[in-house]
């Protein structure tokens, strides 16, 4: 099957492309970034999804499926840019797909859609509202993109739409929100809180998308890997040291002393878990994760050892 992947050059995008390539698909990549050593079966195009040449890709290649991975988080882009990329880009993907006869669009979204907070339940199901808009305003454009993609289910019924809400990725590419948070030798925690973190290995991201394409499932699905792990354990198993700070000190220390800079609302995601229930996706597609939590953490640790380890 001919698959177009906007956002292919990101670390996860590449793993997904390689996985789909291995599964026998023909891959067309589109990204503003380059992928210099892209393998032979991947036809790379540089550009913005909202540009005219991007539309031309749809017209000339007539892909059967599109895997939309060209969304960014607050860690990557500032708000104005983010709105343009996440909302404008997603709109372009769906409109071009409809116009040029794409049969299946997979929107790769995030599980942080559900938000974290003291009254938020564990194991969110797909029918829950996006509490992230109130608890973490910096995520609102991603939430909006997710809902916009979901609206294609009724606006574009001739096309199969799959919205995937994926947990954090963790593995040797070191890409993603969680992996970035864990990068330093000392990882800050909020004293008196130790939330569960749910993550999946990059190859399982690829595997799940492959399953979504194969089963051509219509709807909104949570996608996860192994059971979640407490943050303290995650920090230990990746060879880091935890640095529990009282909440007021944590707020002060962010962006200083070599600690990551985070929006104030991100604190709720360090105090409370975002844990999702992915049983519906497993049932619908037969997907099963292959990499267990300890292996994903070990591989991240081996790829990004901390100096103290040496």
């Amino acid at each position: 099957m001919k698959v177009l992947i906007p956002g292919i050059a990101g670390a996860t995008g590449r793993v997904v492309a390689l996985g789909l390539l291995q599964a026998g698909h023909e891959i067309i990549g589109l990204d503003r970034r380059t992928w210099p050593d892209a393998p032979d079966g991947v036809e790379m195009h540089r550009g913005d999804i909202r540009s005219r040449p991007a539309e031309d890709l749809f017209r000339t290649h007539q892909p059967e499926a599109v895997v939309h991975m060209a969304t960014v988080t607050h860690l990557v882009a500032r708000s104005e840019d983010r709105y343009r990329i996440n909302l404008g880009g997603t709109r372009a993907v769906f409109e071009h797909s409809r116009r040029y006869g794409v049969k299946h669009v997979v929107f790769v979204g995030r599980h942080t859609y559900y938000g974290a907070g003291p009254e938020s339940p564990m194991y969110h199901t797909e029918d829950e509202p996006p509490m992230a808009v109130t608890s973490f305003p910096e995520l609102s454009d991603l939430v909006a993109a997710d809902l916009y993609a979901g609206s294609a289910l009724w606006r574009m019924p001739e096309m199969t739409t799959t919205v995937l809400r994926m947990v954090y990725t963790l593995g040797p590419t070191g890409h993603g929100t969680l992996a970035s948070f864990l990068r330093g030798p000392r990882v800050p925690m909020i004293l008196g809180f130790d939330p569960l973190y749910q993550f999946m290995h990059e190859t399982d991201v690829a595997r799940s998308i492959e399953h979504a394409l194969k089963a051509r499932v219509r709807g909104v699905y949570n996608v996860a890997g192994p059971p979640p792990v407490p943050l303290s354990q995650l920090i230990r198993a990746t060879g880091r040291k935890s640095m529990p700070l009282p909440e007021f000190a944590f707020r002060f220390a962010m962006g200083r002393f070599g600690l990551p800079r985070l929006p104030a609302a991100a604190l709720s995601h360090i105090k409370y878990p975002v844990v999702i229930d992915d049983r519906a996706f497993r049932r619908a597609t037969g997907y099963e994760h292959a990499v267990a939590e300890d292996r994903a953490m070990r591989e991240y640790h081996d790829a990004f050892p901390v100096l103290d380890d040496a």
Binding site: P118, E119, P121, M122, Y123, I190, L191, G192, F193, D194, P195, L196, P226, P227, P228, V229, P230, Q233, A237, P246, E247, K271, Y272, P273, D277, A292, E293, D294
Partner: protein, 282 residues
Amino acid sequence: MTAFVSREVLRRIEELEIPWGPFGVDPYGVSKKHLAVGFSMVEPFFRHYFSVKVLGADNVPARGRAMLVGNHSGGIAIDGMMVIASMFFAKNPPRLAQGMVEKFMNRMPFASMLTGKLGQFTGLPEHCIRLLEDERLLMVFPEGARGTAKLYRERYNLVRFGTGFVRLAMRTRAPIIPFAFLGGGAAVPTIHNAVALGKLVGAPYIPVTPYGLPIPLPVKLEVEYGEPMLFHGTGAEADTVIEGYVEQVRTSISQMIEKGRARREKAAEQTLRDYQGGGSAT
């Protein structure tokens, strides 16, 4: 820390039917290590300080979903703690009772973390349904915070029951095991609930006792489990139907309380007689 953990507790933890992950943590974040320390700390209170008497523990199914439903007794959570301890120490094989915690607890540092690691989650219907569908043992106090706020003179009363628990039990087809908890009101003889003081620390109120702090006295406590009750339906029935079922559960609990109260009063009279008898002999 491990020296402090009793061998008995470790053995019982191994007997719990919980799917532990590679780090001794279950899919909800319940931690073996924290349970071991927690139960080891509670054990002397359960066995000696309160010498909790447990009746009818066999009425609780050995495995599979079930909902323990009982009265609040004592201004702080000793009732919940001792019910959990009774399922762990006085039932064979043991079970982990998982309570539904007041929402304010999850906002407090440490309290939030520890309750979670001990399997006590925020009282949300979603948690209730998921745990039951996962064949866990749930502990519910339908009196809610109204119940913990009972004063000493109200200790044998039941306040209004919420109805949500019956709907959830019906929806998940889980049996309700009514239980009566006695003695908590005497252990923490609340004469006043300090609301303003509670606000300062983020709690709804702080119970005040004649001696000031809500430190529980070494009073004998009792918990009696009644026959399981199973209500058939979808849980979407009209309020009037549900209220009838709630009343049945409430009646069962209040009968056990009355029985227990009579038993306790008789025992107290006996003790007094023994004491007086002993006194006259000297």
